[in-house]
Symmetry: C2
Subunit: 354 residues, 2 copies
């Protein structure tokens, strides 16, 4: 089988880690046989934007639809206002390609430690299911009376029955597929009394279809406390676009580094390609130095391989990555002394060995 993957390295360390991921994926397919990747790379970046005035060409979204999957590096660069870069690239892709689920697993990898004093490796093993198509990221709102002393800006969060139902269903299926069968729903419906209350209501409605899944409900503020003080009590988590954005960064930090965390932007209907990206950003401070942690990129690549149907290859890749971190081959953010290339080559060697 040939999988056609389009790479959008984007900005900063997005470029370094996409290159690393491609190298590892090619090594993997060569070692295993049976499938191959055909990579196409597009230069949709802030640098290109500054030169020509756009991130994606007018038919950009249509172009993407022709591929089996999208591999995304990072977007965001100091010279471009963040809301221009993100609404020029990553957010329209998530929305237009119906990638309404963002899955963000977090674990403490072998050979790494949590910054929490009392958190053993087995104590933190979460999957955050993020609503990826609406909520606080709907893009609605505006500014009136701009440049006046009575300027007013709004942000409108949209929550729909359909949008909530489908993410809840995905979250319950995820919880059901895991040994503990436990789902924690996050909300802020005490302070936000309209759309967030609908969110809660639909959660309890859908819960009726999943009697085998244990459920509980947390307010987003209290959830951060629980993640820090009682990580073991959590398993699968479902939250809105913004809440899950915040909680998944916190989760990554608690597992050791934002550099290891993967994310999958999924269209569960499979009518459109899904997109895989590490959750870290473009990291302008370390861009171009070759020291970015590629583990989040490899984990994202493994999730892509899994989504494409190569379950065994995905598991194999994750095992290799974990054996490499276990052996202490790590970048500085994880307390090691390797650079991007060092970790990448160690992973490739290990794939070839097995």
């Amino acid at each position: 089988t040939i999988y056609r993957v389009v790479c959008i390295p984007g900005d900063g360390i997005g470029v370094d880690i996409t290159e690393a991921a491609v190298q590892v994926l090619n090594t993997l397919s060569k070692a295993l046989g049976g499938f191959e990747f055909e990579f196409t790379t597009v230069d949709w970046s802030s640098k290109a934007y500054l030169e020509r005035g756009w991130y994606m060409p007018p038919d950009g979204l249509e172009q993407l639809k022709k591929f089996d999957a999208i591999y995304f590096g990072a977007v965001g660069w100091p010279d471009v206002p963040d809301h221009i870069s993100l609404w020029g690239l990553i957010l329209p892709i998530r929305k237009a390609l119906n990638q309404y689920v963002n899955v963000r697993p977090t674990r403490i990898l072998p050979g790494t430690t949590s910054p929490l004093a009392n958190c053993a490796q087995a104590d933190l093993d979460w999957v955050i299911v993020r609503e990826n198509s609406e909520g606080e990221y709907s893009g609605q709102g505006g500014i009136s009376h701009e440049h006046s002393p009575h300027a007013i800006g709004t942000e409108v969060s949209i929550f729909t029955q359909v949008g909530i139902e489908r993410i809840m269903r995905f979250a319950f299926e995820t919880a059901r597929s895991r040994p503990r069968k436990k789902l924690t729903m996050v909300t802020k419906s005490n302070a936000q009394r309209h759309g967030m209350v609908l969110w809660d209501k639909v959660f309890y409605e859908v819960a009726k279809e999943y009697g085998d899944v244990e459920i509980d409900k947390m307010l987003v503020d209290a959830m951060t406390v629980r993640m820090v003080l009682n990580p073991k009590s959590l398993d699968t988590i479902v939250a809105t676009n913004l809440h899950a954005d915040i909680l998944s960064d916190l989760a990554a930090a608690l597992s050791g580094s934002i550099g290891i965390a993967p994310s999958s932007n999924l269209d569960p209907t499979r009518k459109n390609p899904s997109m895989f990206e590490p959750i870290h950003g473009s990291a302008p401070d370390i861009a171009g130095k070759g020291i970015a942690n590629p583990v989040g990129a490899f984990w994202s690549a493994a999730e892509m391989v899994r989504w494409l149907g190569e379950e065994k290859a995905a598991d194999g890749l994750m095992k290799v990555v974990e054996s490499v971190t276990a052996a202490g081959v790590k970048t500085k953010d994880l307390g090691g002394s390797e650079n991007t290339k060092g970790v990448t080559e160690a992973v490739c060697r290990e794939i070839e060995k097995q």
Copy 2:
């Protein structure tokens, strides 16, 4: 001087810790002389709501205006939907009494430890300045097509020039008053491109008036990572109503327990009474057991005393509280074995001694 304070114990452990705070404040004024408290307690609680259908009487807000300060316990109870209890009590008070600032200091108290492995006492000393009057808590929005498959709910965040300017100014003044003169502004203006962009813009405008304050800007998701992995790099923090709600709970957890954290809802114009409350909730699971940690309540009481103008008494009270935690007289959440009464009596004894 006589200070007239109205107490709203509210729900659950709010009742226990308000009682403890009143006892400590009376002991303090007796020991020091020169000022006295006249306490009035109102039963505005979920229990009362369930009996009579309202939290505050129709002239409730007018009643509050006659006092010098408000001491608040906690609100929220399983039998009442949270958005009913909060919009029936705490949120209208914050709004109607122009308490547009919520100040939330966080430190690791002597004798307590952070759950973070590499965080010494001196490494975490923050003040979070929370916008308390608008943003995500504006209450605007609604539900259309309710009970239909195409139901849609919205939450509208409102950010105004006036609202942003005044909170920024307060935050800069706070930063300036602290040794490090450092202010970190939190935003999510990459994904939220209207009101949040106004928030950023006003921050940079106001910054021009405070050339002596060092500034930086963080996205709210990345901020959680920084709080966990680099607490030392932060000092004063300014954030929106929701972002600061989340970050201040995280801050409390990282400092050891949500049970120690205070908050001051301030009307800096002093035209209305300000309100002081620990940031923890009503904790139904431990309510009525007499084991709630009263430290957050004492710290909140100290901030009230400071706001009333008794600076020295406030400092004195905090020193006593810290000497008691240092001596290991602590509740279970801090790793101790005392109950609410034990800690309260230890604090009172120590006040009388000094």
